[in-house]
Symmetry: C2
Subunit: 436 residues, 2 copies
Amino acid sequence: MSTQPKLELVRDAFIPAAATQTARVAILGFGTVGRSVAEILSYSPDPRLQLTHVFNRDIERRRVTWVSDDVRWTDDIDAVLNSDVDIIVETLGGLQPAEEWVRKALLRGKSVITANKQLIAHRGRELAQLAFHAGEQLLYGASVAGGVPVLLALQEGLAGDRLIGVSGILNGTCNYILSRMEAANVSFADALQEAQNFGFAEADPSSDLNGDDAAAKLAILAQIGLKAYLSPSQTRKTPVSSVEAIDFAYAREIGCTIRQVSRATLDRKKVFAAVEPALVPLTSSLAQVHGSQNVVVASGKYGGNTAFSGHGAGGHPTAVAVISDLIAAAQGRSHADWIAHNDPKGYKVSSDFTTPHYVRFVVKDRPGIIATIAAALSEGGINIDAILQKSGFPKAELPFVVTLEPCGSSVLQEALTNLASSDFLVQPPVHFPILR
Amino acid sequence: MSTQPKLELVRDAFIPAAATQTARVAILGFGTVGRSVAEILSYSPDPRLQLTHVFNRDIERRRVTWVSDDVRWTDDIDAVLNSDVDIIVETLGGLQPAEEWVRKALLRGKSVITANKQLIAHRGRELAQLAFHAGEQLLYGASVAGGVPVLLALQEGLAGDRLIGVSGILNGTCNYILSRMEAANVSFADALQEAQNFGFAEADPSSDLNGDDAAAKLAILAQIGLKAYLSPSQTRKTPVSSVEAIDFAYAREIGCTIRQVSRATLDRKKVFAAVEPALVPLTSSLAQVHGSQNVVVASGKYGGNTAFSGHGAGGHPTAVAVISDLIAAAQGRSHADWIAHNDPKGYKVSSDFTTPHYVRFVVKDRPGIIATIAAALSEGGINIDAILQKSGFPKAELPFVVTLEPCGSSVLQEALTNLASSDFLVQPPVHFPILR
């Protein structure tokens, strides 16, 4: 075992970068991320960090030979929580038992680095306050956008601005599927199958596809960037499975492609937030993100738009974020202090963005359909911009698209509800915002 | 005058974010950036920061009414250096007198925030060491890429990676000119004139166009990201004026456009560095940067490529970077400690990148030219990839392009030198790397 002295992480005690002390590190969870953290600590060792414990269930099957013999492998969480480790890396995911163990760790004088977006989105504020009062660090740079250091940028690098919006592509699985549908003109189901075959989608991809994963990350971005509390459950989430191959063809006609876009903006003491498929210009930074990449765009009153992009998932990129946080914690730099003093405000949350819209109808063709749709939209005060119709589809199941001038999404929803019982509709209309 | 207590910025004394102390701030230079810093401090006040002094020559002509009456306006630098200000913001630019005044400020117990890329590129290491030993902060986030917080990202956000390369578009004037030439098919001279009319280029744009400006920023990125000392004078700089409108047409034929690319990579204890026009794929993040925007791409062993883009110049974006640094300094966070303990190494510097190349010849046409060129290249061991020739040019002054498989730029230069006396050349051949 190491003979390194225990590093005392006492609040307000600034530990200079030159400190020769080494922080003792435990990893909870030896899946993709936990294993990658261990790899970097083993193959690119940092004198400030020493791996001392690895916790996982069924640990003997996980044990690898390339870590130091001094590392203790255990499936007993108390053996870690009661040890002399200084910093715990939590890569378990999910709310429980992660939350309980993180609380215990903080109360027992350990700092915590986590990659757990659900934990931070739902319990981040309480855990940050607990960490602050315990005099420990809580860092979670890996919880959003993997290896892209966007939380640090929002919190410190753009601290001099007044941020009014954050948006981005936060889910690599959805982006892989949509960019494959765009490039190869395949169906949603085929693109999903391909993503699963290549390991870009999990066996159960529901939390990726329904927007839950991105909504958790958006909540963290809003808390840090906009200093606004945003519950993932308050955020409108439209599943990406509503996108069909034909939508890419129509989108291209107006110079756009389709991405799962997560966005939150502050406007007069209200937070507008949504996670949904959206049309974005082919030339935009959102359209240029392919495969499993992520991007976050911060919009500031003074600095305009600043974009951060890179690998949003994967073992090594996420491990880079974890190790950057480990170095920060070993040096006594903390997000916990920050969040404790920038308590996110509880603004009213709305999903009622005003934007141009794209609406796809699939109809059994007969005269008068456009007139009926136009009347319903007009009744809602909504102006039609263009009607797009590609040839080569059967009259019994004819898709066409109506693009609309800017209107609130709730007004559009109401107009479409009024059309819902129309006999010509083969399926309910699908609508996406157009983000120029 | 303020009755705020003087903030003591003593090294190793961690000042929590909750500190109610207010740092007293002086601005040196009331040009675009200095004025924008004053604007944000006045219109979006931060309780941690109080503007107390503005220094400029001929100060009475600069004085504005929208700052607090408590601010002292002066053209006497000693009135600032001998005052009780805590932090000095240096926006003067150039090496002298900025260097002398920054040294004096640090020695008199003031922290310094600077936007001065030449100062940091040439004197950053010594000034950081001085700051460290004086127990003061020296921060310079505004010196590279304006409002894009890339230095912080390289230093802390990607601290867990091993960076092996940094590249980017670091000069907004060049990027404005090249992206206008691309979009509007205008000549270099016309695009430059337009940039000057719109305020995107200075009356004397030579340090932008010849690469000096970008080379200074690249040197700072290499010091922070690669921990490699790189003198701007050791970096190969090819002026962007060598690009002609016809080059965009040929570049498009191979799916590329042209950008002024600054890049530095670490390879076996050598730093490769250059600032030059280069062909980049139309789909790359470098090609997607238009107008006066900047982008920096960091390449890591573990995290792959991470990109940062936004407004690389302009008063307000640069002021955001300055104020983010002011907040960091008021909280006791420092780059000086970092650089003092990550002393950039003095690797051997080379510009001899191995890449595919684009070579434009302008010739007086006659039989045998291709044979002569091919022989000269072959003698240098260089393989031709393709020969591109657009129609519609006079035989007496015929431009055509040869693309080459990867070769060292020095080998290419030598082969072209051997061709220099050929009678068919109307002008010396122009060559750019192709960055895939």
